[in-house]
Symmetry: C2
Subunit: 516 residues, 2 copies
């Protein structure tokens, strides 16, 4: 037998979720060895375990984008300042967070104190900004590519890094540099562009639900929260365990703003010149932050199997040298039997941890890393033909002893059960923390009541009738830290009522929440 897991070391996460949620989040990331802050302000280093999750997110989304007719391409990192200026709302929205390249070489220069120092030289006649998003530079390419309605639709995606100089960075959720995909499409008609905007929102919802095991609400942003330069911004909003919202993805209908700014013109069916209708949509490494906050617990990360870099970890228990070889062989045989099976269309991902470390240490490492299933095999298990199986989504003491064959034949079902269970749990939590609120008094109470003893617990999703102005939204944010997350699509939100602030009539409830 391995060391009993009940010997809980100090490595469980401290503080716990209810003590200090933001700090718990940082500690989960550290304990799982996923990422760390770098010496570059607001920029993170994504370590192998974190990057492995991103690779699975990428692969699966990429497949979904291709299945909906998109192809990948790559556009320049740098954007001429004059391009950004072409769309007024756009440059206004991003100006405050642009990293600007002004020089193209370095030279060694003598300093007043006599030392030599490298200084920027070769000033550029026109500065460049590092892309905060690529509408303008991709728009310029589309203008070159599109001539006739036959060239449309143009359905392009880019996997890239982008940069927004964040004043209050938070690892994965809000970093100066982040990795993302940005879809950019151009269409002949407004209707087609609107359809595309909705199609990709649906792809995001499906992906986040089926792969990340997080239920999201689809809806439209208020004017105040729109993407700079968009006519309509759609979004998916997730709830995490402190009941705050995270915008997990957005899809924008850009109207003809960017095609007019960039000159994406084509000869239409009538022979007349027309401007294309464009969309853009994106998700980023922020999804990893959402994932962590949605599922993890006070022992560390909890990963849905579909995006776990390893789905099963096998831990050989080798107390005696004479049985060591047999145990290791059995572990490798088990790994091979598992890899021969398919979960969600891919071979099961298994690692045998043969490192020369104490069993308890190893076990704790994998708990903190959130591996869905851990299997221990020792000499006595070998004799009995059994394995000791622990599921990350269950309590730490719930270890099951299964006949090896039984475990192998049920492994895929077990992974499915973990995946589905996480979604069910997150859905139940979200639903339990979504309430209809119909007065300002109730609204204020909902978002402030928990404050005194539990500063980290924040109401939930308040479903409200709303007919207020952008200024009213400003005030709610300033006074309560609450923003309108979206005007949700679902029929369950449609009903007549009156705005809790202005008393004006309303035909559907919107969602207010605190948000990351």
């Amino acid at each position: 037998m391995s060391q009993p897991v009940s010997q809980k070391p100090q490595s469980a996460i401290s503080p716990q979720r209810t003590e200090d949620f933001p700090e718990w989040y940082q500690q989960v990331i550290r304990a799982a060895d996923m990422a760390e802050n770098s010496e570059v302000r607001g920029c993170m280093v994504i370590k192998p375990w974190g990057y492995g999750i991103w690779e699975h997110i990428q692969q699966q989304l990429d497949r979904m984008f291709k299945a909906t007719g998109h192809t990948n391409a790559y556009f320049p990192l740098l954007i001429p300042l004059s391009y950004l200026e072409k769309e007024a709302a756009h440059v206004e929205g991003f100006a405050k967070e642009c990293a600007v390249v002004t020089h193209h070489r370095l030279e060694s220069q003598k300093q007043p104190d006599g030392t030599m120092k490298m200084v920027p030289t070769g000033a550029l006649t026109e500065p460049y900004v590092i892309r905060p998003t690529s509408e303008t530079i991709i728009g310029a390419a589309f203008a070159r590519w599109v001539h006739s309605y036959r060239d449309l639709p143009l359905l392009i995606n880019q996997w890239a890094n982008v940069m927004r100089w964040e004043m209050r960075p938070r690892i994965f959720l809000r970093t100066a540099e982040f990795l993302w995909q940005e879809g950019h499409t151009a269409h002949e008609t407004k209707e087609e562009a609107l359809e595309e905007t909705e199609r990709m929102l649906h792809v995001y919802e499906e992906f986040v639900r089926d792969h990340l095991a997080i239920p999201v609400i689809k809806g439209e942003k208020s004017e105040r929260e729109r993407f700079p330069g968009a006519d309509i911004t759609l979004c998916i909003e997730a709830m995490v365990q402190d009941r705050k919202a995270i915008q997990a993805g957005t899809s924008h209908f850009l109207g003809q703003h960017f095609s007019e700014a960039a000159g994406i013109q084509f000869t239409g069916r009538s022979g007349a010149k027309e401007y294309a209708w464009t969309t853009s949509w994106g998700v980023s490494t922020r999804l990893i932050g959402t994932l962590i906050m949605a599922h993890s617990d006070d022992d560390g990360l909890v990963l849905p199997p579909r995006v776990a870099p390893q789905q099963v970890v096998i831990l050989p228990v080798t107390p005696k040298e004479e049985t060591r070889a047999a145990v290791l062989e059995a572990c490798q045989a088990l790994a091979a039997a598992l890899r021969a099976q398919t979960f969600a269309g891919e071979p099961v991902r298994v690692q045998v941890d043969t490192r020369d470390l104490a069993g308890g240490t190893k076990n704790w490492e994998w708990i903190k890393k959130g591996v869905p299933v851990r299997v221990e095999i020792g000499p006595r298990d070998l004799e009995k033909g059994s394995v000791a199986v622990s599921r990350r989504d269950r309590g730490l003491k719930e270890k099951e002893f299964l006949a090896t064959e039984e475990f192998v034949s049920g492994a895929v079902a077990m992974l499915t059960s973990v995946q589905d269970g996480l979604l069910a749990r997150a859905t139940a939590f979200r639903d339990a923390n979504m309430v209809k609120i119909d007065s300002l008094e109730a609204f204020e109470k909902y978002f402030t009541a928990a404050r005194p003893e539990k500063p980290e617990i924040h109401g939930g999703f308040a479903l409200c009738h709303w007919a207020g102005s952008a200024e009213d939204e400003d005030r709610l944010q300033k006074e309560l830290g609450v923003t309108m997350r979206c005007m949700p699509f679902g029929d369950e939100f449609r009903e007549e009522g009156v705005c809790f602030l202005t008393g004006a009539p309303s035909v559907r409830r919107v969602i207010f929440a605190k948000a990351y």
Copy 2:
């Protein structure tokens, strides 16, 4: 039947290879719609067909890196200037081509002429450079991660964009921004680091040979051509059709230079503090340029099946409306039968081109895009149960009429034959253009003789005994445009002789060539 391919339109590449090789290269890229220059100086837009090739290069290399024990991670795009300065040779080597970020916001400012303009504000106290390569920033991370010999080896790879401000950019081969992978590893001993350096060079050789169908020569760079900061730079050198060399990949043994600069220290087995031994290795989108120059012809791109975004294109020939549906159905059935098969471990990639365009136009488009196999199906083929098959590696008029079943059952063998044939052709060409040269006179003649009428044809690989200095190399480059490509590893290059320039003794021949 489709339109006869003998009606060669003007869309074949002009100029031809023997007329103007560099311009032919640009025209192949344009005709295949792979990439284009952007408005950002020296930066390219990689269009879907070019990016599709990069995706296959990535996937296959990534598998090889993982099979050799490496994992992916991601490090910041920006490097503090002070980091770059830590390794003297390194900063010296890259200073002239660094894009420098000096500000982090934009503000609207009134110009003398009364207009408003965005100008950079928020000056940074320490400027950042956009990574030209990541040794320094990854070294800083490694210093945080490595404490004991048990933490080694550290085997990390990064897929990323990098930036080097090139004065003479050439699309794919030398661009200001390019995509690449950079491996960075840290080891306990010098021997292990040397082994890693060689292992990855071997991975590159294998990849370029087996996937890109290009034979390369492995060797070591002279001191003059070494990576700034490396003790040893190994490389693979390819020959392209104008007989010039392209450095297709490099692997560097960095000694302890970067670990001393960054402080990658660990407690060794003896208990004493030691510096790690590091390596780095990389290939880039330059491989796509190499691929184009190695295989393409005067009709456009020629792609090895293993990296072709589509391996088979099916062209429905639909002269009459009444047979149209049946032809399209047969095309889709054929596509399904092909996709059910596996080439090089993956389902065959097939596209049915159903666009409403003339058959000749479509056919020419796919010729120019270099798709390995084109299949035409028309009403008469349907009646006969046959298909018309054209291989891109054969002459344009060589169309084979095969029974559909025969084609399907032989398709994988046909793709293999195209793949192998391209490698055999490139190898024969390279071998035919590699000559032993033993006098300065012969050397000069070899690299200048072809000049008068064929300015684009450049000797080939000159195998020479060499014992000259870095200054001698400088002179050869200045006078003849020739550089030492590498000191090759192969036994076939080992023999005693005397340097053709200095007369000093030598124990192996090295390779001189003109190069991109």
